[in-house]
């Protein structure tokens, strides 16, 4: 439970609310108990004596108490929900902030899907706990303790009933929990299987139809469907015991109180001075007993929930605890970049296992030069580029921009001056404008249009009724692959960066448009240094020089097309394979 306690620090700023919440919960529970207690006065004292005044007085007190009770209830709901919502919002924001600070190495370790689950489902579960905290978590023990105190005070003799009912209830609930838990786990697994079969079929109806494998798929589905039915039936059967058993125990309590009460009355206890049996005590005791048993049930539910919330809390804490391994240098340089790049004996790997994606890479690029980078998949082309804006740090060697190591630059300044278009164009919800403006927040409309023009997306934007304000759905799902790539290229263009990196950024753009976009880079007024990753010889050969990476992450050659055809075996092979298969290019 320690992880959940750590997250309670988000609740502490609301000390005043906490005090009110606990206090009002106390009042509510107290009212719940005190009203039956007062009733004893009416039934056992006032009624037999025909004392009208007492009835009136006690009734008024009870009305007052009930009003007090609902008032407390409302205040408690208000404060506890306030704490839950506001504390969770703070937690969620902190978590989001922390994620923004994480380095790529951190993120690779965690995996993005996990971080998303943490920020959504896990935070939600903690919120549910916060919500329950000052309602059920506080209430259950209060009910048990107060019930026991009042019951014992009312009658020690009748309290003997608890020797039977309490252990019975606790035991039953425990057994049910132990039996139900693994069954529900199985249900979840069976459901995952079932969903997977549906998902695969929903994803690939064309495959299923082409191979006419419907009977096979129906068989697979029948298996998982049946499996799920059985798992569910088994779990629900356990749950079918819950309500009847608990009900039985409650009613057993009623019968026992009646029986034990009557026995003691026959022994001369619970008789008023007037010689009349005090049945009010029995009634009050009965309601205490109910409250205690309800409290116990709540408590066991809380325990189950607490253990699940703790799992979520520990996963959140893990992220909070992680140390960020890529930080700004103590005295960061914020200078304007010219665009000369040099790698000196750079080795780099993602893990600590000594597996390098890049080995002893050394080369230098002049300011304004256009360089193509080629090599087969997994040769480290993207890794190489990620070192420039310091998404990762090198393991060995130095990466220099204008002869200054990248890790001496202020990170934000450095990234601000590199236009990087990633392989899978990342587009955010908003509009083409909001996405492009990420490159330059304060750009004016003219700059926006120029960048869009050069990335060949202006035409698309003009076609939209809302133009630049055309609504883009999350992850750009309402845009085609080509449109996304063009927008992300415009986002890099508007930066007017001294260094421009295109990582296979035009794969979904047709050949003619690709050629025009690349031509526009020459027309950019600031002459950036261009680094272009591509698989296509025809595209890459138009660059000033070409850097060839071999499969083991070493440099196999650096020069012009003609030189490389002779000197770089890797380049020659790639070129030949493309040439072999039919001249120089694709027709798309």
């Amino acid at each position: 439970m320690t992880d959940i306690f750590k997250l309670l620090r988000y609740v502490t700023p609301y000390k005043g609310y906490v005090a009110f919440a606990v206090l009002t919960m106390f009042v509510q529970v107290f009212v719940g108990f005190y009203i039956p207690f007062l009733m004893i006065d009416i039934i056992d004292v006032a009624l037999p004596a025909g004392d009208f005044d007492t009835v009136l007085r006690v009734s008024l007190v009870m009305v007052g108490l009930a009003l007090f009770g609902i008032l407390s209830g409302i205040v408690n709901t208000y404060t506890s929900q306030y704490i839950a919502q506001y504390a969770t919002a703070e937690l969620r924001l902190d978590f989001f902030r922390k994620v923004q600070e994480l380095s790529f190495k951190n993120i690779d370790d965690f995996k993005t899907s996990r971080l998303i689950t943490n920020a959504t489902n896990d935070v939600m579960r903690v919120q549910m706990l916060f919500t329950m905290l000052f309602r059920i978590v506080v209430r259950a023990p209060l009910m048990i303790v107060m019930g026991l105190v009042l019951a014992l005070r009312t009658s020690l003799l009748l309290s003997q009933v608890f020797y039977i009912t309490i252990p019975l209830l606790v035991l039953s609930v425990l057994i049910l929990m132990v039996k139900a838990y693994p069954r529900f786990k199985k249900v979840q697994l069976a459901l995952d299987d079932l969903n997977n079969v549906v998902l695969e079929n929903a994803n690939a109806p064309q495959v299923v139809k082409s191979f006419v494998s419907q009977p096979h798929e129906k068989g697979r589905f029948e298996d998982t469907n049946e499996n799920y039915r059985q798992a569910n039936t088994s779990a629900e059967t356990v749950m079918a015991f819950a309500e009847p058993v608990i009900n039985m125990i409650f009613n057993m309590g009623v019968a026992l109180i009646l029986l034990v009460g009557a026995y003691y009355i026959s022994q001369g206890d619970f008789i008023s001075e007037a010689g009349i049996p005090q049945v009010g005590i029995l009634m009050a005791f009965n309601s205490y007993s109910m409250q205690i048993l309800i409290g116990l049930m709540m408590f066991s539910m809380v325990m189950i929930f607490l253990s699940r919330a703790n799992v979520s809390a520990s996963r959140i804490n893990e992220v909070f605890r992680v140390e960020i391994d890529l930080v700004n240098p103590p005295e960061p340089t914020k200078r304007k970049i010219e665009g000369a790049i040099a790698f000196r004996d750079v080795s780099f790997g993602y893990g600590e296992d000594g597996n390098y994606a890049l080995r002893d890479v050394t080369f230098a690029i002049d300011k304004g030069e256009k360089v193509g980078i080629i090599g087969s998949t997994g040769s480290g082309k993207s890794s190489l580029m990620q070192l420039l804006p310091r998404l990762y740090d090198v393991k060995k060697g130095k990466v220099l921009i204008d002869d200054i190591p990248v890790d001496e630059y202020d990170i934000a300044t450095l990234r601000d001056q590199i236009g990087f278009v990633t392989q899978n164009a990342t587009i955010f919800s908003g509009s083409p404008a909001t996405n492009i403006l990420q490159g330059k927040q304060d750009a004016n409309e003219e700059e926006l249009r120029t960048a869009s023009d050069k990335a060949l997306i202006m035409h698309f934007i003009d076609e939209q009724a809302e133009g630049f304000n055309h609504l883009v759905l999350p992850k750009g799902t309402n845009l085609s692959g080509g449109q996304k790539q063009r927008i992300s290229i415009a986002r890099a263009f508007i930066k007017k960066p001294p260094i421009l990196i295109l990582d296979d950024a035009t794969s979904a753009v047709d050949a003619e448009s690709e050629r025009r976009i690349l031509a526009h880079i020459d027309g950019l007024d600031h002459e950036p240094t261009l680094l272009l990753i591509s698989q296509k010889i025809a595209t890459i050969r138009r660059m000033d020089r070409i850097l060839v990476l071999a499969n083991d992450g070493t440099v196999d050659g650096f020069g012009r097309h003609e030189e490389l055809m002779e000197k770089s075996p890797v380049y020659a092979e790639i070129a030949r394979s493309q040439l072999n298969l039919g001249g120089e290019e694709y027709v798309g």
């Binding site: 719940g32 009733m39 039934i43 009624l47 009208f52 009835v55 009930a66 009770g69 409302i74 709901t77 929900q81 839950a84 919502q85 919002a89 969620r92 923004q100 994480l102 790529f104 993005t112 939600m124 079932l194 695969e200 929903a202 690939a204 082409s210 191979f211 006419v212 494998s213 798929e217 469907n225 039915r229 079918a240 009900n247 009613n251 057993m252 009623v254 009646l258 009460g261 009557a262 049996p277 049945v279 998949t377 590199i418 990342t426 919800s429 909001t434 990420q438 409309e445 249009r449 003009d462 809302e466 133009g467 609504l471 999350p474 296979d504 050629r515 092979e573 298969l581 001249g583 027709v587």
Partner: protein
């Protein structure tokens, strides 16, 4: 309207627009909010409650006697349990206060135990049986839905999207199953308690019962008012939550771009903005939902003490004959337990509506179009491989023609290359051949037989398709290849794999053919996936071939391998290829240039170059 006449909207303004596209009743959203079910959910309004309920009932038809018997015994059991307070009161009145008699008390205590036990046993068994019935019914509904999926046209899947379909078969069916199993019993239970308690209160003492009756409209009114407020609150909360979760997902999955463009700050600001909205909306929703319970407690107390106070007054004023102490005790106990069910009914109603809406969404799948309703009847031995498109028009939606007047012919063994810009209709053309879509006008024939006359299954079995983005199933590599022909032996599978060139990389995998393919085949590169899919197609031994060449993201060596095995596959078979490589195009017997839905040029590479038309300009764009 041109963009420069308009102000550029900020991200926040657009986010508000985006919120209008969110459906707060989407069951997937309810799950994400952790609400779901009874407290937090908002029920969508079912379109046709009567029809849907009728249909659900027809599913339960086979069990109607069992269900009827269960409901009947349940009513009995609940009534039985309602007698327990009366017994308690009688014990106090008759055997303790008036004429003390320990034996009488013991007898009543025994009766209480007996009633309670009977009640519990009936409850257990009815639920035990109900679970079994509802699970069988649910399984049946699920099976019907899946069976329909197997017969629905491709367009159905494209329209709905896989996420939605999965949600219908899992979340929605789950909602139905909750309604069937638990809700019906609880609704019945609550109603019996409300009416039973009332009746018993009248039986005990009509005057006190009248006092209690007075509170019902009050309770009903409050429940209605508050549920309106909560509904509105939850709706808002869901929308904000969906928006915020959207920001989280986008941001985290696009974190490299966020960092590269120094967008951490703006994102945190947007997040804070939405987070604050969610916190306020969530607070309002939860507050109103939360005060239901204190109010129920309050009403409990008020009714309880009203009964006692009024009872006491009557007792003192009119004597024991009018109101006895035992009657006060009894009525006050009933009064206590009958407010909760009223509050419950409102929530149960909500849950029931969710169940019905869920059923509607599942039934929509079951009612989907059956593509085999329009099936041909001809069976065929095998295809020679002559293909003819005659004046084919096609549209995905009415009025928007994607293909117009496509006419071409291929002879047995021909390779036809289709080229043209993206979005021009190349993929659509090849998907018409195996009747994934129905053409509007014109005719497609194989060996002179209109494909409409051939049974779809037979037609499709003889046409092999290798698409660019290959879909692999979760399971072993072997199982994935075997999928091409489930009757094939292990040797045949391996032979096909060797022919495709996939064998070489498969044997290098740590577990060879037993290596598990993860969901969607993510643990294999696109090239490897394509090699596996070619092996699968080789195994299925089709008469005709449809191929979509890879464009990008496949490294050169694998690409060469794919090329080789595709060529092997095409040998002796008529093939239609969406071609990207010049070599394929040069070797093709005929090239079709498709642009903007029309077949604009046709001929061999040399012929088309000589023509100096569209193809020529496409070709030149590559080299200059």
């Amino acid at each position: 309207m041109s963009a420069d006449e308009k102000r550029i909207l900020t991200k926040r303004e657009l986010t508000e627009k985006l919120k209008k596209t969110i459906d707060p009743t989407d069951p997937r959203l309810q799950q994400a909010s952790g609400g779901g079910g009874r407290r937090g959910g908002i029920a969508p309004k079912p379109k046709n409650i009567r029809e849907t309920v009728k249909r659900l009932l027809s599913y339960m038809g086979a069990y109607k006697f069992a269900i009827f018997a269960i409901l009947l015994t349940l009513v009995t059991a609940t009534l039985l349990s309602l007698f327990i307070p009366i017994l308690f009161a009688t014990a106090l009145d008759d055997h303790i206060l008036v004429d003390f008699n320990l034996e009488g008390v013991a007898r009543i205590a025994f009766l209480i135990l007996l009633f309670a036990a009977t009640n519990s046993i009936i409850r257990f068994f009815s639920r035990f049986i109900m679970v079994r019935i509802s699970q069988k019914v649910i399984k049946r509904i699920r099976k019907d839905a899946f069976d329909k999926l197997m017969r629905a046209p491709v367009s159905f899947f494209e329209e709905k999207g896989s996420g939605d379909i999965v949600s219908r078969l899992s979340n929605d069916v789950e909602l139905v199953s909750n309604s069937l199993g638990q809700m019906v019993i609880e609704v019945l239970n609550s109603s019996v308690i409300i009416f039973g308690s009332l009746a018993l209160m009248f039986y005990l003492n009509w005057a006190l019962a009248l006092v209690v009756l007075f509170f019902i409209p009050l309770m009903g009114l409050f429940t209605l008012k508050i549920s309106k407020k909560t509904r509105k609150g939850f709706k808002e909360q869901q929308i904000h939550l969906a928006t915020l979760n959207g920001i989280i997902e986008e941001n985290i999955s696009g974190l490299s771009t966020v960092k590269l463009y120094n967008q951490e700050g703006p994102f945190i600001e947007d997040f804070r903005h939405e987070n604050d909205k969610l916190k306020r909306a969530g607070f309002m929703a939860q507050f109103f939902a939360g005060i239901v319970m204190p109010f129920v407690h309050f009403m409990n107390n008020v009714i309880f003490l009203t009964v006692i106070a009024v009872g006491a007054v009557f007792h003192i004023a009119f004597g024991v004959a009018f109101v006895s102490i035992g009657q006060i005790a009894g009525v006050s106990q009933y009064a206590r337990q009958f407010i909760m069910p009223i509050a419950n009914l409102a929530q149960l109603f909500n849950a029931l509506m969710q169940g019905i809406a869920g059923a509607e969404r599942v039934f929509e799948v079951i009612d989907a179009e059956d593509e085999y309703a329009l099936d041909g009847t001809r069976t065929i031995e095998d295809f020679q491989g002559d293909i003819a498109f005659e004046n084919v028009d096609f549209a995905y939606e009415e009025g928007v023609k994607v293909l117009e007047d496509i006419t071409f012919a291929a002879q047995e063994g021909d390779t036809i290359a289709i080229v043209g810009p993206t979005g021009g209709g190349k993929t659509t053309t090849i998907k018409l051949l195996n009747r994934f879509y129905e053409i509007m006008t014109g005719r497609i024939a194989i060996d002179g037989i209109d494909i409409k006359d051939i049974r779809k299954d037979e037609l499709r079995k003889r046409i092999g398709i290798v698409l660019q983005d290959t879909h692999l199933f979760k399971g072993s590599v072997f199982a994935n290849i075997h999928y091409g022909n489930l009757d094939a032996s292990e040797e045949e599978v391996i032979r096909a794999s060797k022919l495709s060139g996939a064998h070489d990389f498969i044997v290098k995998l740590p577990r060879g053919y037993d290596t598990t393919v993860h969901e969607g085949g993510q643990n294999f590169s696109q090239g490897e996936r394509q090699l596996i899919s070619i092996a699968r197609t080789i195994l299925s031994n089709p008469a005709l071939l449809i191929l979509d060449e890879a464009t990008s993201n496949v490294d050169t060596r694998t690409e060469a391998k794919i090329q080789q095995s595709m060529e092997l596959l095409m040998e002796g078979r008529t093939a239609i290829v969406i071609a990207h490589r010049l070599q394929t195009i040069r070797r093709a017997d005929k090239i079709l240039v498709i642009h903007k839905g029309r077949l604009i040029e046709e001929g061999t590479h040399e012929e088309l170059l000589a023509k100096e038309g569209f193809y020529h300009s496409l070709y030149r764009a590559q080299f200059e």
